[in-house]
């Protein structure tokens, strides 16, 4: 008998614009059926918005709001949908554990992690206080948190992302559940951290025989852990099969597309070599930046030297906190360096000194301002939600005093270049997909015709298919406009596929700078090597990963 089974399960959301009786018009999950055997790992994959999260949350009753569900959700022999709340509560947390995507937002910010784990024990067991405490420490140790006694007293804010996710896992396994539902548990994490978490999950599974439902849009990650894979699209089941069947002989076109996109993303491109790289455009020497907060000083970057040639794409990689964004914002003129010298096409940047009120941005010469622009990581935050796409793209032009007619023309031009459909121009960001937003952010950056664009993790928030679109766009801009990019990413695969040169920032300063092929094939620093080893690949097998 399967442990967990969806049987023709459908979810619809209410459309508030519709009359009360017919409001459940937004069918999100359609007649979904699959099952999970005890001890098995089933991966649910699909592009963003395909219903991965909604189906699982609705099935376990964790999706609140105006929804309607149909079909059956069986856990052992209980139908979770018709079970009274109280009995369902006895299953949640005890028999089914959850690990969600973003450990930062999924832990209560004002409770110590010890208390948050202990709560599960208090609720579902009759252990006394000391026994519970002991078990909490045991759990923390089990998931690999160093110095459990001390960390149990910490609030989530004081832990690293990886540690937080380990806390989530500790909570999920506290009562040795039969099933763990993990909704993109590693998407928010660094490659190296991601590897650690995946190892932990597989190890626990091996030890306790837990079944896992593992949601991800990253086929590479999935390939490392799944026994079986369920592919979703638009809320419908596309196909399902064992890992090997699916990866080697995908039956459906959609699955093939997904796999292709995953490969394409990190495949070095032939075209790259054809690029002609001009003389140095950006010259940076001895770049140093410290952040002062109260009495504490953080050194974000120290003594960095590099150049970016005309029309060149230079990748910046490195773990979180290594100073990637700091370099980006300084080059984009949003803050000043403390020391060093930076010139762009001969124009020097101010170093140190005063800022414009209200920002940390220095006064830059207007021609310098026009020459460099920035594209941010999160397309959701980088567009003003209250301005239309047209207004957003036009804003820099207006700021530089362009006439109305000229603005109109220029916006149309960059929209064309960035493949932004004209009908989108009058929309507000809320009505756009992530990929569209990122393209618009790029369009805005291009509006003034910059010679250098700093792109700070422009892909991190996008799903695989969309990532490919944006990569294509950047490459085509490089080719047609000769725009240079400083491309910041923690995703080495992507950088490998588009950058001519790579800057690797290690934990204690610059690890190495070099041509892409050289860095990726014969890394000179140990740190680069360790980064490379952590990248999940589509053809990793679960067996290899867990040993």
């Amino acid at each position: 008998m399967p442990l967990f089974q969806l049987d023709a399960f459908s979810v619809s959301f209410a459309d508030p614009g519709l009359p009360q009786r017919h409001r459940f018009a937004l069918d999100t999950v359609h007649e979904l059926s699959y099952s999970v055997e005890p001890g098995e790992t089933v991966a649910i994959v699909g592009e963003s918005g395909s219903g991965k999260s909604v189906s699982l949350l609705a099935a376990t009753g964790l999706l609140d709001g105006d929804i309607r569900t149909r079909g059956r959700v069986l856990f052992r022999d209980h139908d979770l949908l018709s079970l009274p709340q109280a009995s369902r509560r006895r299953i949640l947390g005890k028999e089914i554990g959850f690990v969600f995507q973003d450990p930062q937002s999924n832990l209560h910010p004002f409770m110590t992690i010890g208390a948050q784990i202990e709560e599960v024990l208090t609720e579902h067991t009759s252990l006394n206080r000391t026994a519970r405490r002991r078990r909490v420490l045991e759990l923390l140790g089990e998931v690999g948190i160093p110095r459990p006694e001390e960390k149990a007293q910490h609030h989530p804010g004081h832990l690293s992302g990886g540690q937080r996710q380990r806390v989530m896992i500790a909570m999920a396994i506290a009562l040795n559940p039969a099933l763990i539902i993990a909704d993109e548990p590693t998407t928010a994490l660094d490659v190296s951290v991601q590897a650690g978490i995946l190892d932990l999950l597989t190890r626990l599974q091996a030890e306790h025989g837990t079944a896992i439902v593992f949601v991800s849009h990253d086929l590479a990650v999935v390939s490392r852990i799944a026994d079986r894979v369920v592919v979703l699209k638009g809320g419908r089941l596309v196909e399902t099969g064992t890992r090997d069947e699916l990866y080697e002989n995908p039956r459906e076109q959609y699955t093939r597309d997904l796999l292709e996109a995953s490969r394409a993303r990190i495949r070095p491109r032939a075209a790259r070599d054809g690029i002609r790289i001009g003389p140095p455009l950006l010259e940076v020497t001895g770049l140093t930046k410290h952040y002062r907060r109260g009495r504490r000083t953080t050194t974000a970057i120290e003594g960095l030297d590099f150049t970016v040639g005309e029309g060149e794409i230079v990748g910046v990689v490195g773990e979180s906190g290594s100073g990637k964004s700091t370099v980006g914002t300084i080059v984009a003129g949003l803050q000043t360096a403390d020391a060093g010298s930076i010139t762009l096409a001969g124009h020097p940047y101010p170093v140190g000194g005063r800022h414009r009120a209200g920002t940390t941005a220095p006064h830059l010469a207007p021609e310098l301002r026009r020459s460099v622009q920035l594209v941010f990581q999160d397309p959701f935050a980088s567009l003003n939600p209250r301005r239309t796409v047209f207004q957003s793209i036009a804003a820099p032009l207006e700021a530089h005093g362009w006439s109305r007619a000229a603005v109109r023309e220029r916006v149309a031009e960059v929209a064309r270049r960035t493949v932004v459909d004209e009908v989108l121009l009058e929309r507000y960001p809320v009505a756009l997909s992530g990929g569209q937003k990122q393209r618009i952010a790029i369009a805005r950056a291009l509006a003034l015709g910059p010679r250098l664009v700093v792109a700070d993790e422009p892909l991190a928030a996008l799903d695989v298919t969309t990532q490919v679109e944006i990569i294509e766009l950047i490459l085509s801009l490089q080719q047609t406009l000769g725009t240079a990019f400083l491309f910041i990413s923690h995703d080495l695969g992507v950088v490998a596929s588009i950058a001519q040169r790579v800057i690797v920032l290690g934990p204690d300063g610059v690890a190495e700078i070099g041509r892409t092929e050289q860095v990726f094939t014969e890394p000179r620093s140990e740190y680069t090597g360790s980064l490379l080893a952590a990248i999940p690949r589509l053809d990793d097998s679960p067996a290899e990963a867990s040993r």
């Binding site: 459309d15 009120a357 026009r370 622009q373 941010f376 999160d378 700021a399």
Partner: protein, 321 residues
């Protein structure tokens, strides 16, 4: 492992209901908003109140009672008790033989005028201060925030009581219309809330990427405040406006209760309520209290319904709640 996680708290917000796949989110939201039953009810209520205020002279002409006219013969018993209906007095009369219905309608003019004007002044002033303090930061922020703190620290009614005396010229005339004094005082004591709210929002917004993008593109400070930040704080400020409005209408009433509000015999809901309370006549003629109180209730309800629904529909920050 020394690696810290990136902060991704809002990386992929779940889209709000019904917005994906629509050709134009904004307009369809507006349409849905205009179809929303609660919002419609709110508009109807506000419409009623405005209609009442506008139609007051007309009603006065029809029933033949002016708002200040004392019709003791028709409306008071020999022992001075007002009728509570009849004789052409829809809602009866007050202790001076004035038509409560007509006065309530005229009261709408004064109350709405005082309430709307003072709250709007407070909104404008507070938003301006909040924008500048929040965006410019540093010493400017310290100064403006201290200023806000100082204004907040004044006990409203007590200071108001002393301020009102200032409005008497050497000839005993009011230097300015007392309604404006009330408006001024109420505005003076409510702009601070807007300033605090807006400042907080601005500080939060300031670090957002789209502001950084605007800075990076070379936009000036004023431009950023006006075109990038203001549109984002205005909705919240306007919603707060609807919350503050009844409080301000009641502020006027409280001043009247203490004898320093709108000058007698001009009717305002506040003075009418205060008067009903002070004479105790409401026990005999309930409309004295009910008419202005219900009007106020309707007004508040109207504005609140519209503003909460508007927020539900239009504020991208709220997930439709």
């Amino acid at each position: 492992m020394t690696v810290l996680a990136r902060r991704t708290s809002e990386r992929r917000p779940r889209p709000s209901r019904g917005q994906r796949g629509r050709s134009d989110g904004g307009r369809s939201r507006l349409r849905a908003f205009l179809r929303d039953r609660a919002a419609i009810a709110g508009f109807v209520l506000i419409g009623l109140v405005v209609l009442g205020a506008v139609a007051a002279p007309l009603v006065a002409a029809i029933v033949g009672h002016g708002p200040l006219e004392q019709l003791a013969d028709e409306a008071l018993s020999d022992t001075g008790l007002p009728i509570s209906g009849g004789n052409g007095f829809l809602l009866g009369a007050d202790a001076n033989g004035r038509d409560v219905f007509v006065r309530t309608l005229y009261g709408a003019q004064v109350s709405l005028f005082v309430g709307l004007t003072s709250t709007t002044i407070a909104l404008v002033l507070g938003t301006a201060v909040g924008l500048v303090a929040g965006y410019v930061g540093g010493r400017t922020d310290t100064v403006l925030s201290s200023f806000t703190d100082i204004a907040l620290a004044f006990p409203f009614l007590i200071t108001a009581l002393s301020v009102v005396t200032l409005n008497r010229g050497p000839q005993g005339d009011d230097l300015v219309d007392p309604a404006w004094v009330v408006i001024g005082i109420v505005a003076l004591f409510s702009w601070t809330y807007f300033a605090r709210l807006v400042r907080g929002l601005v500080i939060e917004l300031k670090s957002r990427a789209f502001i950084q993008a605007a800075v990076g593109s070379g936009a000036g400070r004023t431009r950023i405040i006006l075109t990038e930040i203001l549109p984002n704080v205005l909705p919240a400020a306007v919603i707060y406006w609807a919350v503050q409005l009844p409080a301000n209408i009641i502020g006027e009433a409280s001043l009247s209760f203490l004898g320093v509000g709108i000058k007698a015999p001009t009717p305002s809901w506040g003075t009418m309520i205060a008067n009903a309370q002070q004479t105790g006549l409401y026990q005999y003629q309930p409309w004295l209290l009910l008419a202005p109180a219900i009007s106020l209730f309707i007004t508040i309800l109207g504005f609140n319904l519209v503003s909460t629904q508007a927020r539900r529909r239009f504020d991208p920050r709220s997930s439709g709640r």
